[in-house]
Point group: none
Chain length 402, copies 2
């Protein structure tokens, strides 16, 4: 699939692109953090003037506006534009797009949500970026995408056919035997405007050293959403070329422009061997890492704990104020001998030299808790175990009285 990369200012280069030829424009324009002069007039008797605000971000808008106009020109009438906003300029970007494309062409504000390392700042941890999605006309191309139903949804019910009862109330259909009638497969829920895509990790193979590099998965999603195969994708600030890589992997034609020779070089190198990293998190989603049983956590309900995901011997640590270190805790699994559970907890904990370890015994078994005697380990019966025994004892008592 053809991919053209140009060195230069997109304002100039774009004049060579014929109008109505591009199906998708994605751009992540550089933001100038330089000279944003503060407003001095805070006199609240004075009416608010837009031009006052404008002056502070004038440079950015003056830079972007003519380029957006040029992008609109090359965009096909069924085409779309996605503008990846700088945090400090998302409102300016929206004004500019409203002006160039028209307010009524605003389709969505996409929130790219991610997790990242934290720092001790006294504020909310920034964990999202905004992408504005405008179309050139109302007859835009849009491939509705679906995501799986949320776990809370009663999927069984969704898949049932609906009917009307004698009072014309909507009910779920049942056949002559009183069984539910199934509806065939549904595709799931339409894709929303908040996308949880892992931030590109420092160690990711996908990373090529370009500062604002975006995950390929994000670009893939955008490209699939509004283009078909062989359509033309344009990135006028292509940076390390992630957009072009994603486009090529999805069999779309693409044009990339950047005014940095380094960017062009990196992009051309990546295009020679386009690869997207296929990591567990990207592929399987967030659920893939959740290996600590709900079973185990349920038994610890009400405790102030830190669940541990990547350790087969420890289910959680207990939070305690003491400087005594952390207290590892493990819940005996069904069909797991108590001794084995104790050993697993001990093995996983030994490098940590905890002053205390806790094992929750859940199974009724021959093996007595006292037989497990590892120094520093306390064995506690779960409520369910105590209850089961209590019920048994009590009912025997009741019987013997008769």
């Amino acid at each position: 699939m053809e991919a053209d990369v140009y060195l230069g200012d997109c304002l100039e280069i774009l004049t060579k692109v014929p109008e109505n030829s591009v199906d998708l424009v994605y751009l992540d324009p550089p933001f100038f953090t330089g000279n944003t002069q503060k407003l001095t007039t805070r006199d609240r008797t004075q009416r608010f003037q837009f031009s006052d605000v404008w002056r502070s971000t004038n440079e950015y808008a003056q830079f972007l506006h003519p380029r957006l106009c040029e992008m609109k020109r090359v965009l096909n009438s069924t085409g779309s534009i996605f503008l990846h906003c700088d945090r400090n300029a998302s409102h300016i970007a929206r004004f500019l797009l409203d002006n160039v494309f028209g307010e009524e062409m605003f389709s969505s504000e996409i929130i790219w949500q991610y997790r990242r390392w934290s720092s001790g700042e006294r504020r909310l941890l920034r964990a999202h970026q905004n992408i504005l999605f405008y179309t050139k006309s109302q007859e835009y191309k849009f491939n509705t995408m679906f995501v799986p139903y949320s776990p809370a949804t009663n999927v069984d019910q969704i898949l049932q056919k609906r009917a009307r009862d004698e009072y014309n109330k909507s009910i779920y259909a049942i056949d002559e035997n009183g069984e539910a009638v199934f509806n065939g497969n549904k595709k799931g829920v339409p894709l929303g405007d908040v996308w949880d895509i892992p931030y590109l990790n420092p160690k990711a193979k996908e990373r090529v050293g370009y500062p604002t590099q975006k995950p390929i998965l994000l670009l893939e999603k955008i490209i699939r959403l509004v283009t078909d195969e062989n359509d033309l994708v344009l990135d006028p600030f292509c940076g390390s070329g992630t957009t072009l890589i994603a486009a090529r992997l999805l069999n779309r034609r693409c044009i990339g422009i950047d005014n940095s020779p380094d960017a062009i070089r990196i992009t051309q190198e990546r295009l020679r061997s386009p690869s997207s990293s296929r990591s567990c998190l990207m592929e399987e989603g967030r659920g893939a890492y959740e290996n600590t049983d709900k079973y185990a956590l349920a038994h610890l309900s009400g405790l102030d704990i830190i669940p541990v995901q990547r350790n087969s011997g420890i289910d959680a640590f207990i939070k305690c104020d003491a400087a005594n270190g952390t207290v590892p805790i493990r819940v005996q699994k069904p069909n797991e001998p108590l001794g084995q559970a104790a050993l697993a907890l001990y093995t996983a904990s030994k490098t940590k030299h905890p002053s205390l370890m806790i094992l929750v015994s859940t199974q009724q078994e021959m093996e007595l808790a006292s037989t497990v005697s590892i120094p520093g380990m306390i064995v506690v019966d779960s409520a369910s175990k105590v209850i089961t025994r209590a019920v048994k004892d009590a009912l025997i008592g009741v019987r013997s009285k008769r």
Copy 2:
């Protein structure tokens, strides 16, 4: 806790509020979708003019600006303002806040994310709203909140101390024996700016029939984040009064203003009995449990039970093969005295004449289990209770050895 509700335009009412007296302003201003005239000049040779765009949203800005100024006046220097944006006006709101409070007082754009019923629109399903968070000064009050670590995090590792090697590279510390050194407890990750809070279910008890009603959980989070007890919360467009309810439940003073007599009436009614929504508070404290039922069932994990849905005294019955009848069981709720729980279980059970009743004690309290002596009732400690006590005892033991 005092709560004042005023009927009228906040611009007027606010003049009566002394300056620097309010600690938090939350507002969800009405957006006028009326006469936004389209721009006609799309000549791309013409430079972009801010005033052109401004005209189209003039009315909204002219309405909001003087009111924001007034809110700034009444706000304490350590105070914060949260503006819940209409989707069509978030950029205008940001310009106005930049103008009134200053760009450098912009703290966060909070994304309230939710899932909702899908519609067949040819666009992305809207699943978020934006809340702009500005402070009055740099010395703002901020209660850092923490959330659990991501499932992908290696918690074992996070809990280790860090050090530098001879090349000043950050490494995990080891002691003289080559063992990992633990760091004590961590609280989790600082709260981010994307909040996943369920949209108010149309059938929720909480709902009072007001169109833009917000979940109490959302307001609780905001109030906790930037205020302490007895602080003053202001909602100048209070609608059905969710902000005031949340403030009162968290022991904050509050002022609500609305120019609709209906809104004022609904708010005053809700304030008279805020207890109906109290379960929300417990939810958040207990984390993941969507309702008290799940809280109870988690404590009974591993038991073969029949959950009871709509009984205030009984959480479940234990399945037992005996013809001895069913055994009702109840889990003590957070903040519920054990005696009260016992009485509730007894009252709910007495018509069934069970041979046995089981009460699971979950709270650390003065009241001894033995003091609850109802014939046929057995009191069992939950695992979490036993563990909490065991940890406390063991650590005291460790200390006394030193």
